[in-house]
Structure formats: C-alpha cells, structure tokens
Amino acid sequence: MSAPRFEDKPRLDESAMAMRAAAEIKEGMVANLGFGIPMLISSFVDPDAEVLLHSENGVIGFGSVIEDPARADRYCINGGGQPVERRPGMSFMSHEESFTLIRGGWVDVTFLGALQVAANGDLANWKVPGKISGALGGGQDLAFCAKSVVCITTHQTKDGTPKIVKRLSLDITAPRCVKRLVTDIAVIDVTPAGLVLREVLPGWTPEEIQMVTEPELEIPGGVVEMAL
C-alpha cells in the first residue's frame, strides 16, 4: 500500500515517543525496556514511582540512563550498553535467570521496536529487508512471554510505507503478541475485534491516521489527543 507522507505535519521524535510510552508503566509493574527507542523510557519514569525496570542482560530495579561519563558505572548497564542509575531494591541476576523472569511470565509489560505490526498483533522487528540475517536479541523471548507487549515505532517508514499492515510481509518475530502501539502520531490498541484508535497527535485527524494505516481502524467516539 502506498500512503501520503503528510510531510508538513508534526511528528513525535524518539524521546517524545518514549515519554508517551513511559505513561504505560504503572506503579508496582515489572517493565522490560527493549533495545532501541524503549531504552529511552527509563529517563521518563517518575523517579518517585516504584516500578521495577528490568533489562534482559540481568538487572532489575534500576533507574534512568546516566548521561555524565564521570558518573558512569560500567557494572550497571542496560541492554543497550548504557550506564543506568542504581536504585534501592535492585538486584543482579545471570542471563538464565533474567530469561526465567521473562519466559515465566513475570514481566508485566515490555516495550519493543517494530518494523511491521499486523492487525492481529503479529510482530516483525528482527530482520531488516535486504539484510542476510537479523538481530533477534532478547526480543523474541519478550514478545512471546511478557504479559503485555507495547510497540514503539514510527507510523510509516521513511518513504511513507505504513508499518501497521494487514498481514506481515517481513519475517515474523512472534505471533499475536502486540497489545498496544505507540507511534509518532497515534496510540492504537490491538483487540480481538481489530485495531482501535485511542489517541491522535494534535495536528492530525483520525481520518488522516487511517490514511497512513493499512488495516481498517475502529475510531471510537473516545479518541483523545496524545498527551505527553
């Protein structure tokens, strides 16, 4: 499907998407932050909120990314290799235990990047077209086993092609796993009845969101503006 690019319209940058995604984390949750944009989330979590941020390399209960190299701690890093704050209540674990936590269903929500998401929640995020192979990382375990999967992604590729599609054309990471999409222009839920538009970035109409989304969106009366 080709779609208009709406070059003149506002779009959230990666940090702003991460900020919106951070609002998905409720106090008391175990939240895993995947590789890429999701790693930015830890800096937008209320530092007074008690959430257990988990990173697949074997740490739970850490805080925001440390931006000052003088304070960096090479023994406390997230899955993207960034140093993160130590917080009371944290602990370290082996890789096998880190994925015991993931596979066993102890992660309430995980945030993953996406190349494509299908209307039924199928996710493709490991292999870029044209590459000989891809980066599976820990994302497949998370996509299959976390209680809830939230994808953070631009709504379209750079050439305007929709990333939210009827059926995946790229290699699948995990079937029917995505529960919610936070994009640079909208928030969409994957429900048994199909995709439901929940929030729209100011400057866009629900109809314009539909124009850059391949499957049909249910547009309920309660669509609200994306708030950061």
Binding site: H95, G137, Q140, D141, F144, P175
Partner: protein, 256 residues
C-alpha cells in the same frame, strides 16, 4: 596436593583449545563483560574452525574504535576490551550460535555479516533466552526442554513442536561446548566465583556449560574469603582460573 586451578597466563589457559572447538564466549557486550584476555589469547593462538556461542558476534578493530568514540559521551571503554569480533574478523570462526549475528541498525556491517554474505561462516540464529537456557541445560544434565518461544518463526526451524497448556512449544536441545571462556570478579583457587553487577549475565550462565570452563578474573582471593552465601558459581563448574593483569595490555598481540 591442594586444589589449585590457577594458571599463570592466558596463553597457558587456552593452550589445549584445538581447531574446530566449540566455545561459549561470555559477556553481553558492555565494557567490562567479555573475557577479553582469553579472546586475545585465542587470537594469538590462531586456532581456527571455531564454533562460538554468545550474545553478539562482535566488532572488527576499526569498528571497535568507532563504537568507543560513539559511546564516549556516556562511558569510557577500557583499552583492553576485545570482543568475539576479533576472532571472527581474523577468520578463526566457522560457525556462530548467536542472538546478534548482525547489528539491528543497518549502519554498520560487522565482520560476521560480511563473512555470512560471502558464505564463509555458518549461522544458527537463536534468541538470548533459548540460548541461555540451552547452555544452562548442558550444565544441569537436561538433554532438552520445551519452550513456548519460537513456534512459527525462524527459530523453530526443523525442531519438534508439541502443545502444552494450549500453546505450541519448541523442543530445544542442551548446548554443551568444549570450552567456556568467561569473565568473573573474584575467584579463589578452588574456582568459586563471584561477578560484578551486570557483568554477571552470560558469564555465570556459561560457567559449567562446557567440559572446561576458564574464568578470567579481576582478583584472586584466599580460600575462605568469599562469603559462602554469595558465591554465584560453585567450584566444580570451573576448571581454570587466570587473573587479569594489573595494567591494561591494549594490544591483543602481546603475549600475557
């Protein structure tokens, strides 16, 4: 004869690694996780036809320099940081069992990707969780296990699928290597190990996942100095201990 697993040098520690060996390579990718000096010793030994397992296939030397520069705004990388990419780039690796054989972004083509395109290496792609569990299964004497991760995707491949509790599961096999090369924080001469922070990761998982586990450690302590409640890897899983030099040796070609 008291038990003493300490060997004097990294070259000695890998002396019996033969061409064609399978090696679990510890670490995740961060600045203090790889068994850098053991990787360097394998490069000096120039052993070939290796199968390596681990998270990431690693960088070439020029790529490493770029990566260090890119990360400098967050964190300094040590001079004695060597990744599995050194072995890949030198053509010593025949096969990788990896979660990150190529990088997620398209910007950089790591040595493994180059060689994969040229048909010079074989790849078994696997997610971190199944990889870690397969290595743990080797340590634990479990021949195979059913995981819910992978059915209907690239990682299912030719593996058996069976349904449990209404979900399809893939049968994954234990992955026992000839050697594990890992990095730990403290060791005693029996081979009891502790780790430091997020450097525990695959290092602790790979300890005992092979016939011979070689631990590169920051510090050797007296027997009895490790708190018996806090030992992470008990002695039987470790066959050799070798201590990192007090001053960083930044050229991998330097024998040590």
């Amino acid at each position: 004869m008291p038990i003493d697993k300490v060997v004097a040098s990294f070259d000695e520690a890998v002396a019996d690694v033969a061409d064609g060996s399978m090696i679990h390579v510890g670490g995740f990718g961060g600045p203090a996780e790889y068994p850098s000096y053991l990787i360097a010793a394998l490069a000096r030994k120039n052993v070939t036809g290796l199968t390596i397992t681990g998270n990431h296939s690693g960088f070439s030397e020029p790529q490493l320099a770029m990566m260090k520069e890119r990360m400098a705004s967050l964190m300094a990388y040590p001079d004695d940081y060597f990744s599995p990419g050194l072995l890949v780039d030198r053509g010593q690796v025949a096969k990788g069992i990896l979660a990150f054989p190529v990088l997620p972004g398209a910007a950089l083509k790591v040595p493994f990707e180059e060689l994969l395109e040229q048909g010079k290496v074989e790849l078994e792609l696997i997610g971190q969780g199944s990889l870690a569990e397969r290595i743990r299964a080797a340590r634990a004497g479990i021949a195979a296990f059913y995981t819910p991760v992978g059915p209907g995707t690239v990682t299912q491949g030719e593996k058996d699928v069976r349904w449990f509790d209404g979900r399809p599961h893939v049968l994954e096999r234990a992955l026992k290597a000839d050697f594990s090369i890992i990095r730990a924080h403290k060791a005693d001469r029996w081979g009891n190990l502790t780790y430091r922070g997020t450097a525990r990761t695959f290092n602790a998982t790979m300890a005992g996942g092979s016939h011979c586990t070689i631990a590169e450690v920051d510090e050797l302590v007296e027997l009895g100095d490790l708190d018996p409640e806090s030992v992470v890897t008990p002695a039987p899983y470790v066959q050799r201990v070798v201590v990192r030099p007090p001053q960083a040796v930044s050229d991998w070609r330097t024998p040590c």
